[in-house]
Structure formats: structure tokens, C-alpha cells
């Protein structure tokens, strides 16, 4: 009886500690990503876009606890920012790669995915403008329209779901 009781206490205590440690690990990861974004802000303000890009790219490598739902959203957001930075630096191929990787890795719909799809559409527009071949430009335009539509539909579905759930 005593042994069972002590075992039950120990299990409950261990479970509580695990939850606490997981919360702390998520907070640490979020604080690291946050610091890198703010570092990028300072670098951009100073005109150092390339180092800012490197700082945001490091945000993609910050480890989160397994299964933390924040990880996917934070990384999608970092990719959206990177895509915009690459576009600003005239590097649409890098912007395309970073957007495609993020869209392919997304496991669920979110405002963050919708945002990255918007950035992806902007990349298609930029590629259309740069295309020397009219047919290629048309394809990029069509791809941009599809990405915008997909982004809008995802955002609307999430909005409706949140309203329905009263959030």
C-alpha cells in the first residue's frame, strides 16, 4: 500500500516536472528566435541586409521541444521574412527556395502559412517581371494568382473556425 502510494506520488511529480520543463524549453526557443529577429531589425536599420538575412536564417535552426506547435508557426514566419528580404536584395531564386521549403513542410493550415503563400505569390510576380520569355512570365503570373487564392482561402477558413469557436 505504502509503496504504491509513493509510486503514484512520484509519477505525478515527474509528470508535473515534465510539463514545466517543456514550457521552459518552448520559452527559451521563443526567446532565441525573438532575439534573432530583433538583431535583424537593428542590422536592417543600420543598412546591413545581408547580415540581417543571416540572423533570420539562424532562427530556422533554433531547436524546439518535440511536438511544440509553436515551432512550425515561428519557422513559417521566419521564412516569410527571409523571402521578403531575399526579394529586397534581388535574389528571387533564394526567395523561391525558402518559400517552397516552408510550404512543403507545413503540416496544417495557419495564418502563418497563408502569409508565406502571399510572399510566395510575390516571388512569382517578381519572377514574372524578370522573365524574358512571355510564356514563362505568364506561367509565373498564373502561379502567383493561385498562391494568392490559396492564401486567402486558408485565412478565411481559419477566421471562420476561430469565430465559430468564439475565440
Amino acid at each position: 500500500m505504502t509503496r504504491r502510494l509513493l509510486l503514484a506520488c512520484a509519477l505525478v511529480a515527474v509528470a508535473s516536472c515534465d510539463d514545466g520543463r517543456r514550457d521552459e524549453a518552448v520559452l527559451i526557443a521563443l526567446s532565441q528566435v525573438r532575439a534573432l529577429h530583433h538583431q535583424a531589425d537593428v542590422l536592417l536599420a543600420a543598412g546591413d541586409a545581408d547580415t540581417a538575412i543571416a540572423a533570420v536564417a539562424r532562427a530556422l535552426e533554433v531547436p524546439f521541444p518535440p511536438g511544440a506547435p509553436e515551432a512550425e508557426d515561428v519557422r513559417l514566419d521566419a521564412r516569410a521574412r527571409l523571402g521578403k528580404l531575399y526579394l529586397g536584395r534581388g535574389r528571387p531564386a533564394d526567395a523561391r527556395r525558402i518559400a517552397d521549403e516552408g510550404i512543403a513542410a507545413a503540416r496544417r493550415e495557419s495564418f502563418f502559412l497563408a502569409n508565406l503563400l502571399q510572399v510566395s505569390a510575390e516571388v512569382h510576380e517578381a519572377e514574372a517581371r524578370r522573365a524574358a520569355d512571355p510564356a514563362a512570365a505568364r506561367r509565373e503570373h498564373e502561379a502567383a494568382i493561385l498562391e494568392y487564392e490559396r492564401s486567402v482561402h486558408i485565412a478565411e477558413r481559419i477566421q471562420q473556425r476561430l469565430v465559430k469557436e468564439g475565440r
Binding site: L27, P69, D77, R81, A114, Q159
Partner: protein, 140 residues
Amino acid sequence: MSREEDRAKRAAELVDALVDGRAPEPRDAAERALAEAAQLLRPSGPSLDPARRDALVAEAFAAAAAPRPAPPVARRPWPWVVAAATLAAALILAVRARPAPRLRSPDEIVGRIAPADAADASRRIDLLYADRLAAYRGRL
């Protein structure tokens, strides 16, 4: 034959003699007391001397009224450990049973992202971090 069986056999012989109307022949004081008790309980048998009968009844009442030692209780090992562990478990379960505040999803926190804010990840990570920090502090 064991001693117990021998005594049981002698008691049976005494009772048989009493039932048959013969005079029991006890070997010692214990057998005599047994024969007398059986004789007392059997009104049809040969009657006891009234003084001896009263003495037997008084002896029986005295034995019944005498305080008996309490039966031994199995001693519990470390009863304070059981009590302390029970209290600790109750406290932990009470704390754990409190409904934890529901964490808002990142979508709820940041809302729909306008195209003009596509690259404003700094503001969104600030919001998310502040929400998770507040939730963490609320759990402490």
C-alpha cells in the same frame, strides 16, 4: 495418541458415563470439574450438591466478566509515512486537478496577417513570447 486426543477421549467417557446414569470416575481435579459442569448442564442426571453448583456458576460468571487481553493487532509499518504520503498525494493531485489555463494558438494571438505586415515577424514573435511567458508565470 496425542495429549489433546487423550483428554478428549477421557471427556467423552465421562460424559458417556453421565448420560448412561453411571457415576463418572474422574482421574484428577480438571476431570472432576468437567464432570461436574456436565452434570450441572444435564438436569436429568444425578444432582450436584447445591453449594458446589453455586460455586461452579459463580466461577463461570467470574471468568466471563474478567477483562480479556486485546487480541494482537498487526502493527503497521511506519504509519506516519503512510499519512505523509497520502497528504502529499492529495496536495499534488489537487494542484494538478486545477484546470490549466488554455494556451491560445498562435493564430489567435497574431490574427490574420495583412500583406503589408508580411515581413513583420519581430512584432509577432513579441506577441507570442509575451503570451507564453504570461501563461508560464500563471502556472507557477
